[in-house]
Amino acid sequence: MIPPGTKGPRLAALCLLGVLLFNYPVLAVFNVAGTLFGVPILYAYFFLAWAALIALMALVVESRD
């Protein structure tokens, strides 16, 4: 069912990682008082984790194999 090559499974794994990162309980871990460079931690976490996830996806898609 999954087409050949390793990109499919890797991307699916990234999807699962994203589901984990942007869900309870991981969100609750970051949903606390405090700031990072003046930005509330939860807000900073969202954008940093999001950017990291996109970077990983780019890495997988653009890899040679």
Partner: protein, 923 residues
């Protein structure tokens, strides 16, 4: 600068620019040099996902509940990672079956059912109306607000306006006209709108630029960076609750999850997303880059949402400015006219992009899957006989565009005011999510049937209408509000916002849970209850097994009947025009070696399927089916026959796999055989060499024995001394011969592995001194000094004592042989080293050159020139020694330099039980 005429002129100039881009792109496409065949343009066109909702609504949502706007963008980021698996399949299916829209896709999957296509179309149109109304609301609101400049007055405060002065109506009409010129200028057989895609990609850049501009201005000009905004917000008692820790996220964690799921489905099944992702896709490979570029775009357009939201609330503390308008009102209140105009254009581009693509996609669906199949079925109209229908098709599409926009406007008038932008959009998201079970089920599960899909869609849609659409109308005062508070006829269990008593969820979550239960339950349940028909079965296998289909003609093998090529040509020409039909036929004939139209084409299953596919590209699968059926005489295949064809095909696949497997095995076997043959040949050659060498070696002593025997026989007068000397030579040569034969036998045994070994524990010191003692007479005769160095504590080895003696004797006699008489010295030493015992035999003879060292261990190789010098040995000794040492798991080697003597060494592994002890000693 923000006067009415300037704004109107700028808006029209912008639309004009869009049109110019589209026109240019269409021209290039006609010339065969597409400008949209790039993964970057493809990714930007996907960004049509970001509408006025994103541009204005996200800030409004963020100002109310912090991160609540985010799941709408994080959901697509997550699901797009699965596109490699899911969307590639949908793309492949759509290309093979020439799918023209989402409705066409679903209808085609479930047996080209016109009914199903119609239902999907109706759901899509009704479901999308709120979304279109959202765009109209955003454009007309932003226009109204800008017109009040320098005052900041919310449109709601201006009171109701008469119909003809309502900007939203004019916006709807202008957009309809624009979309018509844009998307339905001509009929494309493949439903490609290159111009539209180019314009949409441009719009994506404009809205991103505008939003980033206002975001940077708010964050870094109006305030001193992100930290400044959040610090100020934290001192404001009203904003404090929006700064972490939030109470759940987006209201609660459960709504967060459902909003994420909702947006995951929306990004795939919104008609306009399906249009740009699937229908307008030029190359499957473009998907790769889009998988990360599109999420990156969403990230970029969301970075400044929170700063603008907090900045806006700090700036307008009274709450009399709608948060949905912060993007626009912040620059206005600070008298930034240029920026405000840029924002207005950005919002316009976000809204127009959505409206254009959405209405084109919907009008295609309405025309191909709702109206045409119905018209074609009404025999009285005789449409199947009309010579040219392309005009009719365009007319229907244009009408559909106007109608959809007017319906959107009507929804705006009916229900638009009661909700914020995002809430309106979510209603549409929930509607298109109803397509998910039958599409995803359809491409991965062959068991899904037409009835199941129909039941699922209708059930899901009914629940959606009841829990989302009905409350929206009730809140706007068009239905009694009693309905919401007490349920229909006072039945509390049926309250639309708390169905069966499930309360405490937000409206969207509540609707999604119930509609998905109804939808998936009905789809799976009904599918399992009744078997699919023949046509469904065959389409199911074409869709689910798309990656193992041979090619586009995969469907042809299911067709049986009679047809005529001119009829097929006629029916195609009616919809796509004669010129295109001619071209399509020529393309078909060329690879088959037929010079059409001079030579006739055979109207076989392949041609019928080919024409049907092209027709489907213009009018959708179900209409194409009807048209084809009207010109050919078709034998309807029964379900069993379809199954047979499918089974045959899968059998063929299985057989060919087995065949491949077999041939691979054969290849491997023959390679092995070849290698074995090579080895045998090599052995044969070696044997020949060996025999010829051995016979040569045997002949040398025999020759001299014979020569001296003849002398003794023929010359009786020979002196006694001479006689004794000759007999002595004969004896020596005989001995040599015996030795040689013994060694050859020995070697044969060693090499064939039949030699007998009697391994025992041996103390090497004892063995070496025994051999040295036995050889002492030889040393003495040649006056060669021998030294034995054997320290205590050398571990024992496990080996055949006689064989080791043979090795030592050989090495020692060699050493003696090459030592100069009188000055010679031979040194024998025994030592233990890391798990091994080492024996060295060193002499001070002439030494061995490097070239000779390389060969002395080979058979019949001796140092020195064998032609001129009398050989001093058989040439087998060292070879046998090495064989013996290696048999015991050791190594034998030589170190030497010419003129400095030679040192033959060998090592043997220590006997097992002593290895540990020996290792300890060495350490």
């Amino acid at each position: 600068m923000l006067q009415g005429p300037v704004i109107v002129l700028t808006s029209f100039a912008y639309l004009g620019l869009l049109f110019a881009i589209a026109y240019y792109a269409d021209r290039r496409a006609d010339a065969g040099r597409s400008i949209i065949a790039s993964p970057y343009i493809y990714s930007l066109s996907l960004a049509v996902y970001a509408t006025a909702w994103t541009f204005y609504g996200s800030v409004g949502r963020a100002a109310v509940n912090g991160v609540g706007f985010l799941p709408i963008y994080i959901g697509p980021t997550l699901v797009i990672a699965l596109w490699w698996i899911v969307m590639r399949k949908i793309l492949r299916i759509s290309k093979q079956n020439r799918i023209t829209s989402l409705a066409d896709f679903i209808a085609s999957r479930y047996g080209k059912s016109a009914l199903l296509g119609g239902v999907v179309t109706v759901i899509a149109v009704i479901g999308i109306l709120p979304y279109i109304s959202l765009q109209l609301k955003a454009i007309s609101n932003s226009f109204t607000i800008v017109l009040q400049y320098p005052e900041i007055i919310m449109p709601a405060k201006l009171g109701a306006v008469p119909l003809l002065q309502d900007t939203a109506l004019w916006v709807a009409l202008i957009l309809a006209a624009f979309t018509i010129v844009f998307g339905t200028r001509h009929l494309d057989a493949a439903e490609h709108h290159e111009g539209m895609v180019a314009a949409i990609a441009f719009e994506s850049l404009v809205k991103l630029f505008a939003f980033l501009a206002v975001g940077i201005w708010v964050s870094f000009v109006l305030y001193n960076g992100f930290g400044d905004i959040f610090t100020r917000a934290s001192t404001d008692p009203q904003l404090k609750p929006l700064l972490a820790p939030l109470e759940g996220v987006a209201g609660s964690y459960s709504s967060w999850v459902w909003l994420t799921i909702l947006s995951m489905l929306a990004i795939m099944f919104l008609p306009r997303q399906f249009q740009v992702t699937v229908i307008e896709n030029k190359d499957e490979k473009h998907l790769n880059k889009a998988i990360w570029l599109f999420p990156l775009y969403m990230l970029a357009i969301n970075v400044f949402v929170l700063p603008i939201a907090f900045g806006g609330r700090l700036h307008f503390p009274g709450g009399n400015v709608d948060a949905d308008t912060f993007v626009l009102t912040l620059p206005m209140v600070e008298k930034q006219e240029v920026l405000a105009l840029i924002v207005f254009i950005g919002g316009l581009s976000a809204a127009t992009g959505m409206v254009i693509v959405e209405t084109i996609a919907l009008s295609t669906m309405v025309c191909n899957d709702l109206i045409m199949p119905a018209l074609l079925r009404i025999r009285a109209l005789g449409l199947t006989m009309r010579p040219d229908l392309s005009g009719l098709l365009l007319g229907i599409r244009r009408g559909a565009i106007v109608l959809i926009l007017l319906l959107g406007y009507m929804y705006f008038r009916l229900a638009g005011e009661a909700y914020a932008l995002v809430s309106i959009g979510l209603i549409s998201f929930a509607a298109v999510a109803q397509f998910a079970p039958c599409v995803l089920g359809g491409i991965f599960w062959k068991g899904g049937t037409r009835r199941g899909a129909l039941a699922g869609l209708l059930a899901g849609f009914a629940v959606w209408s009841y829990t989302l659409l009905l409350p929206a109308l009730a809140r706007s005062g068009w239905l009694p509000s009693d309905l919401l508070e007490h349920g229909p006829f006072g039945i509390e269990l049926l309250k639309p916002l708390a169905l069966f008593g499930v309360a405490g969820l937000d409206q969207t979550t509540h609707a999604m849970i119930w509609s998905m239960i109804a939808n998936i339950g009905a789809y799976v349940g009904v599918s399992l209850m009744a078997a699919p028909g023949a046509e469904e079965h065959r389409q199911a296998s074409l869709f689910v097994d798309v990656f193992s289909q041979p090619d586009e003609a995969g469907g042809a093998r299911f067709w049986r009947g009679t047809a005529s090529a001119p009829d097929l040509h006629d029916v195609l020409a009616r919809f796509v025009g004669t010129a295109s039909a001619d071209e399509i036929f020529r393309e078909y004939a060329r690879p088959r070696g037929v010079r059409w139209p001079q030579e006739p084409l055979e109207a076989d299953a392949a041609l019928v399927h080919y024409v049907e596919m092209h027709l489907a590209g213009a009018i959708g699968a179900s209409s194409a089916r009807v048209m084809i059926a009207s010109v050919v005489k078709e034998e309807v295949l029964t379900l069993d026959e379809v199954r047979e064809v499918l089974d045959e095909a899968s059998q063929v696949v299985v057989y060919s796999r087995q065949l491949e497997e077999k041939s691979r095995e054969l290849e491997a076997a023959s390679a092995e055989l070849r290698a074995a043959n090579e080895r045998l040949k090599e052995l044969d050659r070696l044997k020949d060499d060996f025999i010829s060498t051995v016979t040569h070696e045997l002949r040398t002593p025999l020759t001299s024995i014979r020569a001296f025997s003849e002398i003794l026989r023929d010359d009786p007068k020979l002196a006694l001394a001479e006689r004794e000397k000759f007999v002595g030579i004969i004896c020596k040569e005989t001995e040599r011969l015996t030795r040689l034969i013994n060694q050859v036998l020995d070697l044969a045994k060693l090499e064939s592995g039949t030699a007998e070994w009697h391994d025992t524990r041996i103390d090497m010191r004892e063995l070496v001194s025994e051999v040295v003692t036995a050889m002492s007479q030889v040393f003495h005769d040649k006056a060669v000094r021998v030294e034995l160095r054997a320290p205590d504590g050398v571990p024992a080895v496990y080996a055949d004592a006689d064989r080791l003696k043979q090795v030592l004797l050989n090495l020692l006699s060699n050493a003696v042989k090459f030592c100069e008489a009188g000055r010679g010295r031979v040194e024998v030493s025994v030592s233990g080293e890391a798990g091994r015992v080492r024996i060295d035999v060193r002499d001070n003879g002439p030494g061995i050159s490097a070239a000779d060292q390389a060969v002395i261990f080979e058979k019949f190789r001796q140092v020195g020139d064998t032609l001129t010098e009398k050989p001093q040995g058989t040439g087998l000794g060292l070879h046998i020694c090495r064989q013996i040492v290696e048999r015991h798991g050791g190594t034998l080697w030589v170190e030497s330099r010419v003129g400095e003597g030679a040192c033959f060494s060998f090592t043997l592994p220590v006997a097992p039980s002593q290895r540990a002890a020996a290792a300890a000693r060495v350490a």
